[in-house]
Amino acid sequence: MEKNYKKTSLTEIILLIIVLVSVALILVDIAVNVHNEIDLQSQSNAGNLVLPAAAEFADPIPDWMCHLLLTG
């Protein structure tokens, strides 16, 4: 296992950058989810979580991807 290790400082830096960018994306995603959850809880408390609230939910597939798929 150890034999496969390849020590290059440039590789280390690239790896660090990739991980940090990923962590940033994850944190943004968590923040958005928590924000939506707080919003959703306040809607629930106000008794508004019936059909009109549908627009408040994120689309399963982002708009840009729908566009990409439809237009090829």
Binding site: T11, L15, S22, I26, E37, L49, P60
Partner: protein, 395 residues
């Protein structure tokens, strides 16, 4: 010496983490539950006022003079994908469902979105308490959000039957007891556990072939076909006590129970290396690009503790908000079900491209399950050491 110091740090941080989980659980449990009152108006809109007639049952009256009884409202709970859901249901004097409102829920946004967009809740209005509410039979299930839609339907059925029996003196035939769900995913999972168990043995000649077969089966069956990988939300459900009915969620018990059982008994993680669908996807890409294991070198500790910190944050938030899937940031569903936010698709792209050059970047540096397993391993060792110390005979 260095190893011993690292062990002590791991154990100390692990104990602090457990304390913070307990604190978050206590804070989360004291949060105010959603009010029911606003739901009453929603489920019987013509009603002008409500009187409590029984525990959690309200009679709804019109504004006419003399007042006319329109029906009854109650709340009922059932399990969805993210744990218990509370639904307010209004029933007319003939046992017909007049309105439904979700009072509390912990579902993943995309699932709930699909349920709402499919007009699932509206499709239940007009049904009778005596209807069987069987998914894809008399109730249109929502493909891709089956568990969420089934949870709502079960709660509505429970609530409407409660009103019918307690207030309307109507009786419905007994509900069929839940059937034990045992199918292809469960059989596949057991087979994969068996392959992993025997494949680990030193004397087993075909370890490499068995591991590849196990990974590919896991990726195709548990990933692409059924999309049931092990995620942080499973851990959160375990911690929050949102344990689903075993009959309908046997897979969950086999998966979570199996992993922890093998880990406890054998100190081996049977899942990650042998049949994690996302791990297998990364390994396939690694095989294409001849990816190497990259040592993080001097960034080793930074990356290790970043991964652990991220997992800790995700668990704390899930416990605080009482929502197991809220912060489950894995991108498994994004790959296998094509469901996710823009951020998740961006992350998935980055990870898949990286996997071609670096072996298993997600598993090694980002997956929240690795820190959970590390914590479990640390406590396991600690308990064994204490046990040995206490049972050791004095010389």
């Amino acid at each position: 010496m260095k190893k011993q110091k690292s062990k002590t740090i791991d154990l100390s941080v692990g104990i602090i983490a457990v304390f913070t989980f307990v604190a978050a659980w206590l804070i989360g449990s004291t949060q105010n539950a959603a009010d029911v009152d606003p739901s009453l108006l929603q489920v019987i809109p013509n009603a002008s006022h409500f009187d409590k007639v029984d525990t959690d049952i309200f009679a709804a009256y019109s504004s006419d003079f003399p007042q006319k009884l329109l029906g009854y409202v109650t709340t009922a709970k059932a399990n969805g994908y993210g744990g218990p859901m509370k639904v307010a249901v209004g029933v007319g004097l003939d046992g017909k469902i007049l309105g439904i409102n979700i009072v509390e829920q912990n579902e993943t946004y995309s699932y709930m979105s699909e349920v709402l967009e499919a007009n699932f809740i509206q499709s239940l209005i007009g049904k009778y308490f005596s209807d069987p509410f069987q998914m894809f039979k008399d109730v249109d299930g929502v493909t891709g959000a089956t568990v969420t839609s089934r949870g709502i339907a079960n709660a509505v059925l429970k609530g409407s039957r409660l009103i019918a029996e307690k207030q309307l003196n109507l009786t419905a035939t007994d509900l069929e007891s839940p059937q034990i769900k045992f199918g292809i995913p469960e059989i596949t999972l057991l087979a994969l556990f068996a392959i992993g168990f025997f494949g680990h043995r030193k004397q087993f000649k075909y370890k490499k072939q068995a591991r590849w077969a196990s990974m590919l089966i896991g990726m195709v069956v548990l990933g692409f076909i059924y999309t049931q990988p092990f995620t942080l939300s499973d851990i959160n459900k375990l911690l929050l006590g949102f344990w689903p009915a075993w009959q309908s969620h046997l897979y969950w018990y086999l998966l979570v129970g199996g992993i922890f059982f093998v880990f406890t008994a054998d100190n081996k993680n049977p899942y990650c290396e042998w049949f994690c669908p996302f791990g297998a996807a990364q390994e396939c890409l690694a095989a294409i690009g001849d990816a190497k294991i990259v040592s993080p070198g001097r960034f080793k500790n930074v990356l290790l503790w970043t991964q652990r910190g991220l997992a800790w944050l995700a668990i704390i938030l899930a416990i605080l908000f009482r929502n197991p899937s809220l912060t489950s940031y894995e991108i498994f569903g994004t790959l296998f079900d094509f469901i996710g936010s823009t951020w998740q698709f961006a992350l998935l792209g980055l990870i898949l491209v990286t996997s071609i050059f670096i072996r298993r970047p997600w598993c090694n540096y980002l997956c929240p399950l690795r820190p959970v397993m590390d914590l479990y391993r640390t406590f396991r060792k600690w308990i064994i050491e204490i046990w040995k110390r206490t049972t050791r005979k004095p010389a």
